[in-house]
Symmetry: C2
Subunit: 114 residues, 2 copies
């Protein structure tokens, strides 16, 4: 839904949600936490601080419902999704997308992969 | 950060995050879970289904860092924040903001209240 002209300014310029849902081992859909997302979330928070990125917030979230594609991260307000499987992937998302304003094409979730 | 012209379409039209962080009783900042946010999140999920709102997702989130103003909900992609204290507040946000495309002015968090 579009913003209204008199909406308050965005509270965070970059609000990142890392799926930290954990399902039992062997569940058909798998889960992001079972693929290491909690550790990656911790790293992302620390790395964002280290890079001194202003007005960013990295949050854990419940199941984002794209389990098969995870570990999933969604960045708002732009609503761009990534699969983040390693600390190198986290670095790429923070440095190229958040700081650089670019996209990390090779990690991006696309509609056609759903 | 603005969307790029070739970004994939939004995966959810309305993506709501309910802070479900819980701090120990007596913590100076308080916490949203201690103010009942988990129950309100459950109600919001059920109510969204009951209202048959398409392309909506209601997620729990870790601490959204506006603890004193909680229980907090943020709606993306528009990035509008609400204090939601009751099931009536949840109904107002779903019906007036999400379905109606309006704002629930009396519940909205504003920069000047931070």
């Amino acid at each position: 839904m579009p913003r209204h002209a008199d909406d308050p300014p965005l509270f965070f310029d970059a609000h990142l949600f890392v799926c930290c849902n954990r399902r039992p081992d062997g569940h058909a859909r798998g889960s992001c936490a079972a693929k290491g997302s909690e550790r990656l979330r911790d790293y992302m928070k620390a790395r964002a601080k280290e890079l001194r990125i202003p007005a960013i917030r990295v949050n854990a979230a419940g199941c984002l419902d794209r389990c098969e594609l995870g570990p999933c991260v969604v960045i708002y307000p732009e609503g761009v999704w990534y699969r983040v499987e390693s600390t190198a992937d986290v670095d790429a998302v923070l440095e190229r997308h958040v700081l650089g304003g670019d996209r990390v094409a090779e990690l991006m979730l696309r509609a056609e992969s759903d």
